[in-house]
Subunit: 113 residues, 2 copies
């Protein structure tokens, strides 16, 4: 395994998802929209990556979820961050920060000074 979890290189989805869930309970589609809004439209996970990520996070115990019937429209699955999810978020944030710092340093040309 690399220095910086190799999944972090492409795996920003868990970080993003957990981040928006700090706001409170949200359902899948809404999570994607929040990420899109907050990123300034720069990106949004596609469904093919969002839902699997949500399931994985739930399986890990980072999220808890419940189905709820909508008065109108189809049922939605609401996700809430667990305390384990909070810890995971902190971990992902730390990894992101050191990754971003590393890139910035390398691109900027500062050595270990």
């Amino acid at each position: 395994m690399g220095r910086i979890g190799s999944q972090l290189l492409k795996g920003t989805t868990p970080l993003l998802v957990l981040s928006v869930l700090r706001d409170g309970e949200l359902y899948g589609y809404e999570i994607a929209q929040r990420i899109r809004e907050r990123s300034g439209g720069a990106f949004a996970p596609s469904e093919g990556s969002l839902y699997p990520a949500l399931h994985a996070l739930e399986a890990e115990g980072a999220l808890s979820a419940t189905w709820r019937e909508g008065d109108k429209g189809p049922r939605r699955r609401y996700y809430r961050m667990t305390s384990a999810g909070g810890a995971l978020l902190a971990e992902h944030e730390a990894q992101w920060n050191s990754f971003a710092l590393g890139v910035t340093r390398t691109v900027g040309g500062e050595a270990g000074r």
Copy 2:
């Protein structure tokens, strides 16, 4: 294709390689070491990703390369950034910046303000 080139999510290697080559001519192994040093040891591309990336960059015309016999030790392939490489670097930097900004915003919770 997504908003932010999907390769950028994991494809920081070209950015990193081109960045260290601003210093001048370097050979493969040395490039890896520079990246490692500059990133503060946070990461270094493995050989399995570095060499293919170098070949791709050369094929694209972003780098020019020449073999040189070492007085001691095996021959080395020295890479130099071309002007097309400079343009590519600028592009990768811009992409990285907007990507990092998007993540920062999403994690930080700032909306489009």
